[in-house]
Subunit: 380 residues, 4 copies
């Protein structure tokens, strides 16, 4: 079994998520990073590439150049990871898809609805795969939760509570001139119109839908920019009505001191309830109504096939964020290998792709629209 040859767009120095993608691609040994347009100039790209052991000849100054050059090589990349700010996703992804190169793209899908629509067209016309790294769906106990809901263990779902508070933007970090992450993520040109809603609300939305098996039909969103001078929302309260009859709430915030990355999902049905928290991801609480709460653990008693398929090590040996992220990459590898044989691997049913990306964009757009109408209810 040879490794899949991977390129990367973005992810140079000062980047956060690029490094995550690289580790995720390495953990299961399915990919080899061999080329990159890591930074905005060829020189910086080579510099970043050198630190990663890349051949300088395969460190490019732009994704266009990379796509063309790599497509022309017999040992060219077979897949590409796009880890740039959001406004670059669509153009980059379309370029590689046009060359038949599989795309693994960071979320949210794009910065604008138009970009999203264009990208969706490109995905449809390409034979190459498009995977969106809504990485939290890669956690084993999230797969278990989804499976339990789908299997009816909770009965008909009534209530979905999801929240994603952070605190890193409690102060005006983007105005200090020293925090590139804060800068682009609060710049509507680069991140899109949604701030917290786009960056983390989209994850929360995705997770709620992934596990509940329901989509959001209507919502009312009260968005705030608490920090003076901030150009996008940094806190959002959203009420949700799902297409399967569930009701829910979503709260995301970047100004909630004491919360590092506290994504939390709770799902309640006629017969039972589930609770999961990203910061303690090996645990899933399950309460069949009228019985004691049970602590299901990754690879432990009570973990089923859906979770076990994604576990590497025994229970009690915690797997974390990087392994969850790697599960998306390893799923992508399986799908890519099947695609190389002209087949469709069923893992694609579990991997977030263009549909999940579009749903996320509709969610962000609806939040912005609702908020513009003083938090009135809007349809997605």
């Amino acid at each position: 079994m040879t490794r899949i040859r991977l390129g990367m767009v973005g992810g140079g120095k000062d980047a956060f998520i690029g490094g995550v993608h690289r580790i995720a691609a390495r953990i299961d040994g399915e990919f080899d990073l061999v080329a990159g347009a890591l930074s905005s100039t060829a020189e910086k790209s080579r510099e970043s590439g050198a630190a990663l052991g890349l051949d300088p000849d395969r460190c490019y100054g732009s994704f266009q150049e990379m796509a063309e050059a790599e497509a022309a090589r017999s040992d060219g990349i077979q897949a590409v990871s796009i880890v740039t700010p959001n406004h670059v996703h669509a153009a980059a992804a379309r370029t590689f898809l046009a060359q038949g190169i599989h795309v693994i793209c960071d979320k949210p899908l794009t910065a604008t609805m138009q970009q999203a629509a264009d990208l969706a067209d490109a995905v449809k016309s390409s034979d190459a795969l498009f995977i969106l790294t809504h990485n939290y769906t890669g956690y084993p106990m999230i797969r278990q939760a989804r499976d339990m809901v789908a299997s009816g263990d909770l009965g008909r779902i009534r209530v979905v509570q999801v929240e994603y508070p952070q605190d890193w933007l409690t102060e005006a970090a983007e105005q200090t001139g020293t925090n590139k992450q804060a800068e682009w993520r609060t710049d509507p040109e680069r991140s899109g119109a949604g701030g917290a809603v786009g960056d983390i609300g989209s994850h929360a939305h995705n997770l709620a839908c992934f596990v509940s098996g329901q989509g959001v039909e209507k919502l009312a969103a009260d968005l705030q920019s608490f920090v003076e001078g901030r150009r996008v929302d940094d806190n959002a309260h959203v009420m949700l009505r799902f297409d399967g009859g569930a009701r829910g709430m979503l709260w995301c915030s970047q100004v909630a001191p004491g919360n590092e990355n506290s994504l939390k999902l709770r799902v309640y049905g006629e017969k039972g309830g589930l609770e999961w928290a990203q910061e303690d991801p090996n645990y899933l609480w399950f309460t069949p109504f009228g019985e004691p709460k049970r602590l299901l653990t990754r690879a432990g008693a009570g973990a089923g096939d859906a979770a076990n398929a994604l576990s590497r090590i025994p229970g009690g040996h915690p797997e974390g964020y990087l392994e969850g992220f790697a599960n998306i990459y390893t799923g992508a590898a399986r799908a890519i290998r099947a695609a190389q044989q002209g087949q469709r691997d069923p893992v694609l049913d579990l991997l977030p792709g263009i549909e999940a990306g579009l749903a996320g964009m509709r969610f962000i757009d609806a939040c912005i629209r609702s908020s513009a109408q003083d938090a009135a209810w809007v349809s997605l």
Copy 2:
């Protein structure tokens, strides 16, 4: 120091909250229960009273009878606890207030807005005190939280998240014929128009306002009755706008399996955050922004005067729900003793009274109105 002579309306057999009030009144030895209209007939009342060691002559068939008889005795009751279903609160309270007997009344204030207004008038015209047992405000760490917010430890408050899920009405317990609690609490005639919103949402609302020091100005409430045949809401999602600029969310539910009585409050300001959970009430999490999270404990390092004033025993020896409830009673005793001297004890600034009760009724009413307009925003 002699004990305050106390009567009780309601609280006979099969009642839950009456027993709680009785223990709360006993814990600090400030009250002696000496009379009661515990049940709907004199006979049943005497039966219930006998089990409590009451003099049969002071077990009455109605609150009217009791008020009259006790007011006429030289050793008559000085205060009365009203622990009936909500629709009886107003009439009972007015009767005792008219006799100059201090009233300690269970929440919510009344079943209807009209009853609430009438009762407010009666409170204004009486010299007797009116205390409403929003008992969660009696927890030491809640007093600490309120004090920290008021002292500016969190800076300007931005976000208030409060939730109160339970699971005891996941199924149609009120339709089994064996659960009196479920019956009256889901009967709009007796509980008022609000179901979950009235029973527990009102607690959550009260706690959020008590700690944040802000009132709710506008809200949008999405109420559901998930259980077929249920006549009141059993789940409510509410978005909140506070008069001090904070935004928030309130979720209450009686159909969330795995939640016994999971009242939880989180408050976030410019400088820090607080988290508290009723089921683990001796803990208060405090995060000054940019510093590690700190676990403040009742009577432990980090507990201040506001909490210590309500603590009986050292840290690590957990006080619970009954002690928190007793703190309301013991505060009421202090206020009553002062009133008996013609004075006003400042503890009244901390005890929930008619104003908190009216605010709670406006909250419930606004939730019902909003829900009737498909969860539109309404003013309180």
Copy 3:
């Protein structure tokens, strides 16, 4: 039903445990405190008694005086709580037992083995009851744990881990002249030869035996006095061999910063395991081997008769230390009422008495003996 007339020896100002006993006696309304030898002189005793609403005539300067005077009254005390430092327990208890007055005594039993033996003789020769407030056995979930072990839910017990760390004596609090608690509890004349071992180790030992149903047969104890100038141990490591074949460890410490009152018990058998922590006493973790861990809660699903018999309020409404303590008092009240009818109430099988007290003394003594032999194994 009239209340049992109760006296108290000790528990004046500056005392901690006296107040606890008084609240515990009040919670369920079974006792009325009517007399006291609260302090070492009649004057101080009257002062302390006045704050408690006691009749000055029944505030005595010594327990001898009180025993005599009360025994002579037709409305004299029926029971007495002894809450003095340990060295007074035996003499006081014997005096009241001799008068046929039931004794509720704080732990450990006495300060010396000789006192313990003498007291045991007195108990045997008296018709009055002797209850020892090993209060942690009064927690509902501890009763549940004991019942599960006895019912065989865990199979044969193999391992018992018990620990009781505190941190209040991390520094030389007894040498500051301002901490009376620290003074007598580190004074071998008043507390007995054991420091941590006597004060809290005896609780841990008692709890381990109560739940496991096994007694300690042999132990090896490594005792330390970490704080310079301290006259008794402030940390103890003990290995345990039980008479039913289980092995275990006991750690108690008063110098473990970050531990307020962290008594914790874990019991493991062939078929399952249990975990319980005093600071979160409403929870009991149960793992049947090979199945997910279950969270049993007081008055919740999974709580059985043994726990429910001691619960006052529904699950999720936390009961705490004072309610657990009150369960001992209320059990004592039941036993006393039966004794007044010449009967033996089976609640006595669950209440700690002279046998538990003697076992505790043998434990303390064995620890001291082992430690004197450089932590060699000794028999109890």
Copy 4:
């Protein structure tokens, strides 16, 4: 920067720890696995190697063959991971050290004291490095803990409590014929005389010493084999006296239902306390005496240089067991690269090596000796 060429001894099918080493070696991209003596025959080794993408020519039937062949290649392995049962460690390690190939070896060091001594000699005479994967020392918050102790944040250390319970051997898994892990780990020929003590007790001992900065001087160990027919201990209670004056306890068990891999360390000094649990490794509790408990988090506020040097991603994005293990590998890579330049990288001060291995063997041996004398105290 090119990757270090790595070989592996052991780690074929059915192995657990081999896969862990491979992932750990991959996570930071410092190693390329290029050769292996993965199984006991050349054929099986090729089969296992094929699944890993190894060149069949570099899949060997024995470690001797591999050492010789690889040493002869210009592109031969530069380092080897030894992940066999314990009795093979010494011979394999000595063979590679003799060839100047760096060794990364699983713990415990060897199966016997004699093997350990021989290996120590070999390490001394070789220029190649020897790293022992006491992987728990690679967790960032453990490094933080060690650093805090060394910096005096806790003052003089008084008490060290360490425990490592598991439950996977609660029943006689080694007697079912289907659990190879259980078989060799309970076979004294392959695992050494220690069962639980060797497998996990050695980890606990290592961690306690690593963080406290003290070595164990004397111990008393009560070892049990609770499961009938088991040939080694499955539960051990150990009292510890450290050479720096601290006292402690170690409990390890493989028969404690409800414990997956619950390694936990607590360290208490004159000025403060620390608590850490392996199953939630991103958290470190720190209590400065007299102040509220603080929750230090990996990469969060309160994390210092020692932890941050090992963190890949921001706080709240949990890193787990594999990342902790990878930190040992990545440290080894740094040390190897320095050694290739004839230098000694200071990371070696933090990496467990032959000395830690010998200390671990002395610990195991002392436990066995003590137990043979009915748990008497013995010196290490």
